[in-house]
Subunit: 299 residues, 2 copies
Amino acid sequence: MRAASYAPDKLKPIKQKKIPTHASEPGGFERLVNIIEEIWPKDGCVDAIGLGSPGPLDPHTGYLLSPPNNPEWHNFPLAPKVAEHFGVKTYLNNDANLAGLAEYRFGAGKGHHNVLYITVSTGIGAGVIIEDRLLLGNHGLAAELGHVILDPNGPLCACGYKGHLESFSSGPAIVKYFLGELEAGSKSSLKQDINLTARDVAEAAKKGDALAIKAYSRAGEYLGIGVASFLHVFDPSIVIFGGGVSQVGNLLFDSFHISLKKHVFHPRYLEGLVITKAQLGDDAGLLGARALAELKLKV
Amino acid sequence: MRAASYAPDKLKPIKQKKIPTHASEPGGFERLVNIIEEIWPKDGCVDAIGLGSPGPLDPHTGYLLSPPNNPEWHNFPLAPKVAEHFGVKTYLNNDANLAGLAEYRFGAGKGHHNVLYITVSTGIGAGVIIEDRLLLGNHGLAAELGHVILDPNGPLCACGYKGHLESFSSGPAIVKYFLGELEAGSKSSLKQDINLTARDVAEAAKKGDALAIKAYSRAGEYLGIGVASFLHVFDPSIVIFGGGVSQVGNLLFDSFHISLKKHVFHPRYLEGLVITKAQLGDDAGLLGARALAELKLKV
């Protein structure tokens, strides 16, 4: 759990604080209240509070719906309760949306009006800015791009459905494919191991392991198919990649770029399109929550 | 080619006129100017002109890019030339976007803020309203939902790429699948005929032809897969179907509804979701062009 307080015109926080989240333990709301109190600015002047959390949640009402690993917070009015406690307007959104908003406002997407931010990590999430507004949807569940169907007969996704982008190109998907091929008889320097991580596979790939290279290049190929569809859907001027898996560089992105060009159905989508890495790293969530609060106050 | 003039507060046009388009014949611009002159209101007061055309086009600049069957209008500054000729602000957008805008403003989508309009016809097009604004994209090429990839190894689309929604669920896709199965030995009351239309297949299906029924139900199944992804992307409060193929009713929509429910990955997307038919029929294009002009004047 991280918290920071910001002055309106500065990127560097006035105060910040980080504590272990312990999501599944009781007392989460009290821990949240405490950490907010600790970073409260000395002058006491706070215009708004922005909160980020894993989904699913409802950004319109500020309710958490059913966060995994946290039964205490099912259907929990997080933003209303924080607002009531502190007497300050409070806004809630999900991690990926906030990271996208932060990159648009303060990071790689500055100056762009139509931004597609994709985080490739344990899952695949997204934040989409359309003409300077965050895409939310009617229930606040839009931009779940990791759960767009790339192949109805594809692998099982962590969500229980088949063939989603996340089931092809997330970290666990890369490991699953790698282990499946290993079991089917493909050779590799790595041994069958259920604790294997996407990072292990990346390291083997960097040392020349053919199966590990193939596992990443396949993930990149499907990421290219997904992003081609997202260009047809959103026609953004920039695509920004965040998340741990996207840090591997060419291992994922060589095949991504080839696949993207192969699958975009009109060359104009690529004219002037910027494809780049996220700039804000671990601060994206905090800066996104801040951007959300600023954005909401302006509306 | 159709044109109509409207008073601000009435749905019924002051005047309207229809002429054959003859897209591939020279003189298209002159025919357009003439038909606009014919519907010009008597009092001479025109605030703005809205134009609709098949894409690809650039709604930001008002240029037609490369309309099929019309070499004369490649990279053609249609809206600027009309604006110059009449001395009136002129706005251009594509057919599907305008039909979606019209349904949102005057038809089935009235009162909704997040609207997904899909036309299933010779092609599959879409118009998407997000928080009361038409989704355009950086080059004005957003919302090409017919060209979202449902299966990278799927059938060839009319655009030359593989596995698009349009390659599964458009009229020609239904006919192509039907003829392919017929050639592969499936039995049907219809004979192999390259002039067969989606309407012929629908009529056979209504008479109980098993292969014809299967061709439509397959199209509906893939339409359900596509729309499930679009819910994850946009989270609209209403999905509106227009276009000739969508007129067949249960033949397409029974399997569509089953497939949609099967593929939506969180039940909340379906809470309160309206799925309905377009209301404006052939007038959607005209009313959309009018809505576009009104919208632009207000911005």
